[in-house]
Structure formats: structure tokens, C-alpha cells
């Protein structure tokens, strides 16, 4: 961790995804892709990193073309996001 900012959510794309999930009940892969203007593969990579860190949970609904991947923030993820926002505020407050 540098400057107290969590390196897992520091990248802009992941931070944006985490911020959306922190304000949502849950969000679909398609929704995040559209909102963040990312490709499927890029979003999958970013979300995989967040899932592996235990910040986000993912589940699949349906099968085939009707299926969807739904992401939700975990309690750990929420705590990490809150801490990140607080630390960012501190750093900006000190500049």
C-alpha cells in the first residue's frame, strides 16, 4: 500500500466499478461494461482481480444467451472502499 491507498482498488477502472457497487444492491456485467465503457475482456480482468481480493462476489444467473453475471460488493470490499475514500480525502485535504 502506498500513501495509504489500497493498491487493489487504486486503478481507475476498478475504483469506478467499486464505487458503483458500493452504491448498488448489485450490478450486472453488461451494466458495468456499458457504464465504464470497457470491453468485455477488460472488465472481466478488472472484476477478477476484485473477486480474488475478496472485495466483490460474483454469481451467474440463467444459462446461454439469457445468462448474466451479477456482481455485488462484499463487507470486506465495502470496508476497503470506505477506507480508500477516507484516505483520499485526507491526502487531498493535506494538499
Amino acid at each position: 500500500m502506498t500513501a495509504g491507498l489500497d493498491p487493489v482498488i487504486h486503478p481507475v477502472k476498478r475504483l469506478a466499478a467499486m464505487s458503483i457497487l458500493a452504491n448498488s444492491h448489485s450490478a450486472e456485467h453488461a451494466y458495468l461494461r456499458q457504464k465504464l465503457e470497457l470491453s468485455d475482456s477488460d472488465l472481466s480482468k478488472q472484476m477478477k482481480a476484485l473477486v480474488e481480493a475478496g472485495y466483490v462476489s460474483s454469481r451467474k444467473t440463467g444459462i446461454g444467451r439469457g445468462g448474466a453475471t451479477i456482481y455485488a460488493i462484499t463487507p470486506n470490499g465495502r470496508a476497503a472502499h470506505t477506507a480508500y475514500v477516507a484516505q483520499l480525502g485526507k491526502l487531498l485535504g493535506g494538499t
Binding site: M1, T2, A3, L5, D6, P7, V8, H10, P11, V12, K13, R14, L15, A16, A17, S19, I20, N23, S24, H25, S26, A27, E28, A30, Y31, Q34, K35, K45, Q46, A49, G62, G66, A68, I70, V85, L88, L91, L92, T95
Partner: protein, 165 residues
């Protein structure tokens, strides 16, 4: 893939950029109310009308064999929701309001759902006392009115929230 290593000393510009990202994302999914679909109003009203008709036949016409159909309702509701969600997803690209929904609106949705309780009680009274034609038309019209009002209030709240700075 973006690196997991944060810069050693993030510049003020970088920090400001992240502050903007957080602020933008705080205005979260479906705030424009697009997750609310009018098909839900129609589907809910049709379902209510069918149930009222079924109850009428069971209670007033002694068609007790229809009781088994009632046992299918808990099974049919999730299937109906799933099929409806799929339709909306195909049309809008994203699912209806149950996902991609801000937590604030989830609470609004739960509160609004309570509005339908008097409707259901009213339908039971109709089933017990009114003639069949009144039960069917009354249930459908009242359901459209109440579900429509819920849908309208939800959309309006969502739009107001979206317009907030």
C-alpha cells in the same frame, strides 16, 4: 491489465481524478428510472386478476379442485419474474430494477410495495361480496391504478435523485 501497484507518490492531479471517478460513480445505476418497466404494471395486474378469478371460483362457486392451482403460484412467480427480466434485458441491455439498483432505491421500492397491501385486502373483499364481473374488472382496474402509481412514484424519485448534484 492495470497494475496493482499504486504510484509511490500519487500526484494531486491523479488524486483529483480518482475523486471525480468516485463522485461520478456515486450517481449509481438506474437512477433515471429506466429499470422500471410498464410491463411490470400490466403483468402484475393480469396476475392479480387471474388470482381473483381463481379465488372467486373456489370460494363462491365451490370449485375446490382449483385449490391445487393455487399451490403453483409460488412456483410460477419466480419463473414469471425470470422470464420478464429476460425480456427487459433483451430490450434494454440490462436487467430491470432488481439489479443495477442503488441501495437507496431498494428501500424506496420496499416502502412502495407496502402500498399494494390495501389493494390485495380490497380484492379479497370484492371476491367475498361482489358479482364476478365486478371482481374481474374491479381487480384489473384497481391493480393497474395502484401498480401504476407505484411505478410512477418510483420513476419520479429515481429521476429526482439522478438530477441531484
Amino acid at each position: 491489465m492495470e497494475s496493482d501497484r499504486a504510484p509511490k507518490a500519487p500526484s494531486t492531479a491523479e488524486l483529483r481524478e480518482r475523486e471525480r471517478v468516485i463522485a461520478r460513480s456515486a450517481v449509481a445505476p438506474h437512477l433515471d428510472g429506466s429499470g422500471v418497466s410498464w410491463w411490470l404494471v400490466v403483468a402484475g395486474s393480469v396476475l392479480n386478476t387471474l388470482l381473483a378469478g381463481l379465488l372467486f371460483l373456489i370460494i363462491r362457486e365451490d370449485q375446490m379442485w382449483l385449490l391445487w392451482v393455487l399451490t403453483l403460484v409460488p412456483l410460477a412467480a419466480p419463473l414469471g419474474w425470470s422470464a420478464g427480466s429476460r425480456l427487459v434485458r433483451r430490450r434494454n441491455g440490462v436487467a430491470p430494477a432488481s439489479v443495477n439498483q442503488p441501495r437507496y432505491l431498494k428501500r424506496v421500492e420496499l416502502r412502495l410495495a407496502l402500498w399494494s397491501l390495501p389493494l390485495e385486502l380490497g380484492i379479497l373483499v370484492l371476491v367475498a361480496l361482489a358479482p364476478a364481473v365486478v371482481v374481474i374488472t374491479g381487480t384489473f382496474v384497481a391493480s393497474v391504478a395502484v401498480f401504476g402509481a407505484i411505478c410512477h412514484v418510483y420513476s419520479r424519485k429515481a429521476r429526482v435523485l439522478a438530477a441531484a448534484p
